[in-house]
């Protein structure tokens, strides 16, 4: 009985192969010429959208950022070199953005200064000294830490670094160096993981040659591996710096938000991103202050482009070798 039923059930399927193809739509799919052009349309459209996004960002921010100079007649030179930022003063309001440009630069360089030795040291450790352990434990943990949101770093700064600075260096604890420490810690995992990748990319034959002529581990690392990884190590640091430069909320939470140039690293300060974060919400569109903030945004965009150009340049030099 059972066997008989199975045979009758199976019969039609084995009998009509073309029918199966038809049912699954394979036949029509194979011959569907429009699907090719439809797919191409989707793909080229998406690629084009990337260009549109970048162009739109650059264009809109430029137009809006130039309003301060074109419509409100602020002097461009006094805007970037002026040191007094008193936009809401009743008589003679002044827009000098230099303290913020300086603050951004200072935070970026100090953060790089703090992060680089530790990050590169860790990268060497992971890629040269404890390879197995580094690849199996450190690398995944560091990659996870890259994903920790920046506000969390800000909160840590607020609840650990600020009180620490207040206790040991006096003042409020909200100052330039606190901001740099927080951002420095934030970029640590990024720099370390990229640097480790670039050290791993150095071919083993170089190391073997170095050991063969009797070099110690450190001599090999210092004289052979680091120069060979050279420009990509630098790329890792620059990438970290560009991240530090663009960071907004974490810095804003701990830097103290003063409007003058800090006299020392223990003075409160401000950066381009923090002043935008703080003031943007309180201004009305079209006011001079609002336009000036957009100009700061434009400066931010331009400096990010500078970072991108440097990174590309380094990347190209690395490829040529």
């Amino acid at each position: 009985m059972k066997i008989g039923k199975m045979v009758t059930d199976a019969a039609p399927a084995s009998g009509g192969k073309s029918k199966l193809i038809n049912e699954k739509g394979l036949f029509s799919q194979l011959t569907d010429r429009t699907s090719e052009s439809r797919g191409k349309l989707l793909i080229y459209g998406s690629a084009l959208l990337m260009i549109v996004a970048v162009t739109a960002i650059t264009l809109f921010l430029s137009i809006q950022g130039l309003r301060a100079f074109v419509v409100d007649h602020l002097n461009f030179w006094t805007f970037i070199t002026g040191t007094e930022w008193f936009p809401d003063r009743a008589e003679n309001p002044s827009f000098g953005a230099f303290p913020f440009i300086f603050g951004s630069m200072a935070v970026t360089f100090l953060a790089a200064l703090i992060a680089t030795p530790i990050a590169i040291g860790t990268a060497i450790f992971m890629a040269e000294i404890a390879k197995k352990w580094g690849a199996k434990v450190m690398q995944p943990v560091i990659e996870i830490l890259v994903g920790i949101p920046s506000v969390v770093y800000g909160l840590i700064g607020l609840s650990i670094v600020v009180p620490f600075m207040r206790q040991h260096f006096g003042g409020s604890g909200f100052n330039l160096i606190t901001g740099a420490i927080v951002v420095g810690i934030m970029i640590l995992p990024t720099v370390a993981s990229i640097a480790a990748d670039s050290i791993r990319a150095v071919p083993d034959s170089l190391r073997q040659a170095s050991y063969a002529i009797g070099a110690t581990k450190w001599q090999t690392i210092w004289r052979v591996v680091i120069p060979a990884a050279g420009s990509s190590l630098l790329t890792a640091i620059i990438l970290g710096m560009s991240r530090a430069f663009g960071e907004a909320l974490a810095v804003q939470m701990v830097i103290g938000n003063a409007r003058n140039i800090p006299a020392s690293i223990l003075d409160p300060s401000a950066t381009l991103t923090t002043i935008i974060t703080l003031s943007m919400g309180h201004t009305t569109t079209g006011s001079v202050l609002n336009d000036a903030l957009w100009s700061l945004g434009l400066i931010l965009l331009l400096i990010s482009y500078v970072f991108i150009v440097i990174i590309r340049f380094l990347g190209r030099r690395g490829e040529k070798r």
């Binding site: 959208l49 040291g121 830490l145 909160l155 960071e247 990174i311």
Partner: protein, 294 residues
């Protein structure tokens, strides 16, 4: 002898660096989790935030974070995957391709606050979406696209040539080969990348400050009509996400339990990001095992 001593000193310095790194990061993570977990309770997760009084929760913010994330992903994944396919399969070496590549790179390295300002200018003001979930999701799309594009391109490039050649040899068109052979094969690595990027989007704050806003209307979780102004599903209402909430509470919060709220929110945020990460790794591992047959 001298070089041996230098070697020893240098190696110990390097090890010290690694230990310092591990100590900083572990103590940080530990601090957040230990401080925060004690303030997480079912009540904390399920009550609305209170602007003045102690005892506010993060129900709306948590919902907003996930909602913005989902909308962002719905927008980003198709565009990003198609863009990645373009770069991996269709792009011919030339000026246009290198320009698109540059654009992806630029998008990836723009500061998120710049993306937020752009979103405010275009989506919030110009298109008139106001501070809303939708504006926020669009801004985050700009922010997340390059990541998905790269992940997809890498996924496609890591496939063996035979798969593509096999498809083409059967007489399939290029697009059909991509759709039925290459995309399914590259899917695991793309999915892993998407989940990882979801963690990044989930924690993003600066880009949302000027696009999704700093407030949330009183949400009625019984009203699921997307057109109602107090519906959690409404796309055009302002939405403060969890990470923005942490910042807002710390800079301008006047409730007496700011510290507890901030710590609790940060712990929830970090736990979510960690879960995204673990999830991505698990999926990668499982699918890898399936494919390699071990």
């Amino acid at each position: 002898m001298n070089s041996k001593i230098t070697n020893r000193i240098a190696i110990s310095v390097i090890i010290a660096c690694a230990v310092a790194m591990a100590a900083i990061l572990i103590s940080m993570l530990g601090y957040i989790l230990v401080q925060g977990v004690s303030s997480i309770s079912w009540k904390f997760l399920t009550t609305s935030a209170s602007p003045f009084l102690a005892g506010g929760g993060i129900k709306d913010q948590l919902w907003n974070s996930f909602y913005v994330l989902i909308i962002t992903m719905l927008l980003t994944v198709p565009i990003g995957v198609f863009g990645g396919i373009y770069l991996a399969e269709y792009a011919k070496p030339g000026k246009l391709t290198s320009f698109i590549r540059t654009c992806v790179e630029v998008l990836a390295s723009l500061p998120s606050i710049v993306v937020g300002m752009f979103g405010m200018l275009v989506f919030v003001n110009y298109f008139g979406f106001k501070y809303s979930v939708f504006s926020g999701a669009l801004a985050l799309t700009v922010f997340n696209l390059p990541v998905i594009v790269r992940v997809t391109e890498d996924g496609f490039r890591s496939l063996s040539r035979h798969q593509k050649e096999g498809g083409l040899a059967l007489g399939l068109t290029h697009w059909h080969t991509i759709k039925t052979i290459l995309l399914p094969a590259a899917f695991p690595s793309i999915l892993t990348g998407i989940i990882l990027s979801a963690g990044r989007v989930f924690g993003e704050s600066a880009a949302l400050l000027f696009t999704a806003g700093l407030s949330t209307p009183d949400l009625d979780f019984g009203n699921w009509n997307p057109a109602a102004p107090n519906s959690p599903l409404n796309l055009f209402r302002s939405a403060e996400t969890l990470s923005v909430h942490i910042w807002a509470v710390n800079t301008g919060g006047i409730m007496p339990d700011v510290q507890t709220i901030a710590n609790g929110s940060a712990a929830v945020l970090v736990i979510c990001v960690l879960l995204f990460n673990l999830f991505a790794r698990m999926i990668g591992k499982i699918i890898n095992q399936k494919f390699s047959g071990k």
